[in-house]
Structures are given as structure tokens and as C-alpha cells.
Symmetry: C4
Subunit: 233 residues, 4 copies
């Protein structure tokens, strides 16, 4: 169980990082992480203030959503997280926020177009927005269907090359190899949304050269990555 | 009198929460709370800096506005608060701020359209803006008439389903079951105003599916609410 | 000389208040205050970082700009402040900032229209923008001519009813009965500029009822003011 | 080697100043400084969190990019910095950030027009944006070519009169006589970008009188500069 302890601490720290980066108001937002060997997920409890939370409050669920450890109810978005773990193999962490600019793009139903190296350093393409959910999806297993719509939106792309989407009329979901990386991608998404809105105001026709997109993404994530002190960062 | 002491402390804390959430500049903004059994309201004193204020400075008035306890003058907006307590039965707290984005919507005379789940988690509909007040209302019992115009704007809706309005050319008023909940609704109103302005800039035609509005509002407030650790949150 | 000591401390505190309110980057901005009995003005020294400054660094000049006390050079904008003291009798303090939204209006050459009670609580009207200065004014006694253009812009209005203007392609100047009140008016100007920009984005045709303007200004500043714990605030 | 020690400390402090001024998210941004006598440059290591960094982590490279001192890899943007030192004689420090508004202008491919004295106090003209880089430049010695494009954009102008450019679809580079001054120019660039975006929203036709530009630039930087306590500031 040592690894579960570590996972709970990582997920706890990742949830606090959301707050520290100014991505969270009140109790909005949640982060989870998975231990792939055990097939167990640690996630923030539902509606608990960040200030009162401890690492022990993280709830452990299996990939079917059954609570395995913990006395609190897991996040009401747990079923969405689980779909992503079940369908995206390389993903080790998932984050959900209502960060202001990301949420505005989601409300507008617009993708965050790739217009600069800030985005290309982490996302190989536009950050897409999901389609409207149907009445049946909304009134059915809503949070599970939400996960399905995210998976549908990512489509054939490598989820780690487009590590986030905008949930229409809702807000962003991001992911990464770890819970910390999922949070980092939420930070990046919010910042490029902020830049993207201003860019559109300055020049609605702005575009980015695909050679430059590729260069920057591969500088950090390609087989010959050379940013940072080791391999890809 | 124990309950009055508690009420004053709750109202004092709620006033400080406005400041902590960045909704207040200088001495703008005020929060009140009511003890329904005694029919007494605690409210911030007028024009006193938040830093110098103590719980004891909260002024107690009855539902006709008579000062029952306290040496300072109550907020100049007291008469508006009292109309809301007299007309909205389930309301236990009222907050007024000049939060920037909410005030901008009020100055524009535009409702904050419901465009995302951030709003739908707390408001079941658009946040309406009041009509222009008449010369007679402005030159008459101005603060009392302000309350009347708010009540007129809420109309037949359940005040706890639309727990706030924009006062035209002025700023937001919000309310809730407690003073703390009224402040929380001011926080939400300011954030959805911020998101709403950006959404309009990204896509002036943005809309939200009514099924999704209903799902989110009821997830937190309906008879089968399942967000948080207990009942509705 | 006791009063000079007090004046230097008030002006020092008012300069720090500019920083605390987020209206100052680097060494931009300066506040002065006047002792009308002695005809002496205390003002921030030129280009000194706020962190290193003490009350003793405030420079005392007479109404002709002669340094009477202090080892540092006074603000390069001193001549502008002096014109305002010489021409506006009731003014006891002057503040100059490059606060972002105020500066944007000044760069746009647009007045800050009165659109809400936030402005009407402190300004009885629009906050005007000066005309372009001529080549002769710019290449002549520039800072003195800047003061003249401000006075020309205020025109026949009571300077304490319109306690600030936008200097075209530059930034705001505000004033008040004291240095602290001049700073407060800089805070209000920046906030109403921020609200004004957003209001224009939401509704370019927004307007405010003159009865409401008058009601709010007089609630705080008229002969029957009833805001705050004493008289006008 | 005493001077190298000092240089490393200055560069370390300048990197932290970027963070303190809110111009940096995550590990984005880097500052370097040069010792012209030794022809050696100190620069931030690549991808190292600011919180963990010490002055000793600054990497020393010569003007050909060879690491002379230090155990970490230098910033992946080092080659860009070196072109600027090799081509701009009077430059002693270079800074690169992804500051939000500057990056938005870079993404839009638009210069930051000179519209106010805030800009004219530090830049004698518009802040230009580079052209698109070619496929060959991007796939070749990318960071070196980036430096060449910056030099091409500055053209015949004195680099200290236009101490920064926007790198198209990327973000700002600024420079100055020292590392600290390069950072100060990044602060100014971000602020005038913020003001510029708002100015364009308020009045797309806004312009600034060239006499006023000249007056303000020379007040701080001309032979008869009179701002601050000494010479030019």
C-alpha cells in the first residue's frame, strides 16, 4: 500500500497546485492520478474546501468507480476521469478546472487555435471543443457520457499530443503522464486561452506557420528533444 | 442575546470575505444577515474601513429600519436590504458589491446570460438587470425603492433560484440562505460576468442547452442533489 | 516646522498608498500635498524607487518651484502640480499615475463617460481628456504648460466636483482636499476606467440617467450628504 | 574571476526579477548578461524551476556558445542571446519572456504602436514585430536564425532606442545596458502592450504626436535628460 500513500500525496499536492496557480475559485476543480499496476485512482473528494483537505482525504476508487479506500464521497466528476483512464493508455493524471479564459472558450464553443510557441511547446495542435451533448447523454449517465464525448473529440490523435479539451458550455479537462503534468497542462491551457482571446482582438486573421509549430513541439517532446536538463520536459 | 452575538460575527466574517475575494475597493460593498425568529438584521456600518471594523461594529436594525443595537450609523443601503428580507421569505443574507465585471454589466444594462455550468451550478437562469428607476423613485425613498425594483425584477421566480440581480447603472445585489451564501453568490456572479464578457467577445451568438442548465442546477440544488458530502451545496 | 514634518509624512504615506493600490509600476507616479498657510508643497523626489524612500526624502518647494528643503531633486512633474495648486484654491493634494486603464483612455483621447454610481459617488460628471498640446507648449515649459492644459480642461467646473482629468497620450492626474483624497480619486478613476472599457464592449450605447448621477453625488458630497459616519465622505 | 561571480549574481537576480514582476509562468523566460572585457555571457540554465535555482547555477558561455563554466545546460535560447551580443555593441543584458500581452501582440503579428508617454519614456518608436521565419531558418540553426531575424528587424535603428522586439508567433525579446535594464524593458513592454490593446479597443484610430514622443524620450535618454536624480534613467 506504500504506492497508494504516495499516489494520494501526489494527487493532494496536484490539487493544491491548481489553487496556487489561481485556476480555482471556491471548491471548483479536481485532480486525480492513477496507479496503473493496481488499477486504482486517487481523486479529490466532492465539494470539500481546499484549505481543510489533507492527503488522507483523497478517495481511492477502482476503474469501475467503486470506492476502495476513504470515508468521503469522491468528486462528482469521477466517472469522467475514469473514462479517460480506461481509454487513454499513457495517461497518469487528469485535471478539471473552471479557469476563467478556458471556460470562456468552452462557453463560446470555440477551439483554442494554435497561434504561438507557448501553445506549441505543450500542444501539437489546436485545443478542440466538444460537441453539444444530447438530451439522452445529459439525462443518462451524465458524467460517464461526458468522458465519452471527450474521447470522441480527441479522436485519432495521440492524447499526450493534445493533452486537453474544452467541454462545451462547461470548462477544460486536461491530462498528462502524471497528476502534476495534468495540472501543468491546465496552467498552459488557461494562459494560451488568455493570449488567444487577445490575439483575436488584435488580429482576427492571425495564423501560425506549421513548421514553427512542429519545431517547438519537438524541441520539448520529439525523439530529439533538447529543452531542459534531460529528455523531454 | 446569544444569537445576536453569533449573527454579528457571521455578518462581520461575511463582510471580510467580500474583501478577501477581491470584490471590494475602499469601503464599497456591504453584507447583512437576519435572525428570522427575532426579526432583527445585522448590517455593516456606513463608510467604515474594513480594516478598522470589528464584529461589535455591526449595527442591529429591526425590519422597519429602527436601530436596536450599535453606536454607528448602518449602511446607507440598509433600506434596500430590508425590502429583500421583507419580501423574500427564505433569504437569510444579502450582499452588495461594486465588483468590476458585475458593475460593467449593470452599467451596460445587460443581463448575464446563462452560458455555462459555472453559472448553472448556482443560478437556474440568466442574472437579470433592473429597469431604469424613475425620477420619482430616485428623488423619493431612494434606497427603499431600489429594493422594490429588485423585487419587481425577480418577479415570479424563486429568489433562491435566481439569487442575485444587477441594479442598472449601479452594481450587483445577491442573496442566499445565509450571509456567507450571499457572499458566495457575489463571488459566482462576478466570475460568470467575467466569463460572460469574454464569451461574448469570442462568440456573440453563444448559447447553452437548457437540458444542461437543468442538469447542473439540480446536481447541486434539486431534490436529488449529489454534489458535495451531504445534501445540496 | 512641525506642520512641514506632518505634511511630508502625509505625502510619503500617500505615495506608498499608490503602490499598495496597484497603480504604480517601477517609479512611475507621484503625489504631492500643500500647506496652504505656508504656501509650501511636499512632493516625491524624481525617479527614486518607492522601497528605498523615506518621509524625509520628500522635497519641499514653494509655489514658484524653488526647493526650500530636501537634498533630492523633486519630481520632474512638479511644475504641473504647482499650476494646479496655484489655480485650484480648494485643492490640498495632487496625484499622478500611469494606471493601466486610465492611461489607455488617455492614449485613446476619450473621456471616461459617467455610466454608473461608482463614478457618480466621486465625480459629478464625465472625466474629461485634455486636447493635444502644441509643438510650442511641448518644446517650451512643458510641465508648466501641462498644468495649464489641465486647468483649461476643467474650465468653469468646480475642481472638487471633477477631481481628475486624463492627459492626452499620457495618463491621469487627480486631486482632492488632501494628498490621501487625491490618491483615493486615482483609485476611483482607474476602477471606473476599467468598468467603462468593459461597459463599452457590452453596450456601446450605454447611458446613465442624470437624476441618478445627481442623487449619488449628493448622497456623498451635497449639503445633505448622508453616507458615512459624519458629513460628506 | 571576481567579475564572473558578480555577473552570475546580477543575472540570477535579473531572472528572479522577471518572476517578481509577474512576467513568467512555469520555467518560461530567461535573462543573460555579458562581461564585455572577457567576452563571456552568464545565462539561466534550461528548464530549471526558478525556486530551485541559485546564482551558481547560471551557466557561463563564450560568444561562440561554448560552455566555459557550469554543470547545467544553458537556456535553449542561448544562441539567440549570443547573436544579439555579437551584433549590438552597447547591449549588456538580454531578456526573453512569454509575458501575456506581449505574446498576444507577437501572435497577432502586430507592432506595439507608440501611443503614450509610458512607451516614449523607454522606446523612441513603435516596438516592431519580426517577419515570418522561413522553413529553412526554422529547420536549420533555429535559435541562431531567430537572433538574425531580430537584428534584421531592428535594422538601422540604435538598439538602445528600440530596446525590444516581438518575435512573430512567439513572444518578446528585450535588451538594455545591463541585465537589470533588459528586465525593466520587458516590464515596460508588457505594460504598454496591455495599454495598447485597450487603447485599440477604445479608439482604433488613436495616434501620438511625434513632438510629444521626442520630448518624453529625451527627458529620460537625451543629452539633456532631466528625469531622476542623476543623468538618464
Amino acid at each position: 500500500m506504500a504506492s497508494l500513500r504516495t499516489l494520494k500525496e501526489e494527487v493532494y499536492e496536484a490539487n493544491l497546485a491548481l489553487v496556487r496557480h489561481g485556476l480555482v475559485l471556491l471548491t471548483w476543480g479536481n485532480v486525480s492520478g492513477i496507479d496503473r499496476d493496481q488499477g486504482l485512482v486517487a481523486i479529490k473528494p466532492s465539494g470539500v474546501p481546499y484549505d481543510d483537505m489533507t492527503a488522507d482525504d483523497m478517495v481511492i476508487v477502482d476503474l469501475d468507480g467503486k470506492v476502495v479506500e476513504g470515508t468521503l464521497k469522491p468528486s462528482s466528476d469521477t466517472a469522467t476521469h475514469l473514462v479517460l483512464y480506461n481509454r487513454f493508455e499513457g495517461v497518469g493524471g487528469v485535471a478539471h478546472t473552471h479557469s476563467t479564459h478556458g471556460a470562456a472558450y468552452a462557453q463560446a464553443g470555440r477551439p483554442i487555435k494554435i497561434l504561438g510557441t507557448t501553445q506549441a511547446d505543450y500542444f501539437a495542435d489546436d485545443i478542440p471543443c466538444t460537441r453539444d451533448m444530447t438530451k439522452e447523454e445529459i439525462e443518462g449517465a451524465f458524467e460517464h457520457e461526458t468522458g465519452n464525448v471527450i474521447v470522441e473529440t480527441v479522436g485519432n490523435r495521440d492524447p499526450l499530443h493534445v493533452p486537453g479539451v474544452l467541454l462545451k458550455n462547461h470548462a477544460p479537462f486536461t491530462w498528462g503522464k502524471t497528476a502534476a503534468e495534468a495540472v501543468r497542462n491546465s496552467v498552459v491551457l488557461e494562459e494560451v486561452a488568455r493570449m488567444g482571446l487577445m490575439t483575436a482582438q488584435l488580429n482576427p486573421q492571425a495564423e501560425m506557420n506549421q513548421h514553427l509549430v512542429k519545431k517547438h513541439f519537438e524541441r520539448k517532446h520529439g525523439p530529439n528533444a533538447y529543452y531542459g536538463q534531460g529528455g523531454p520536459n
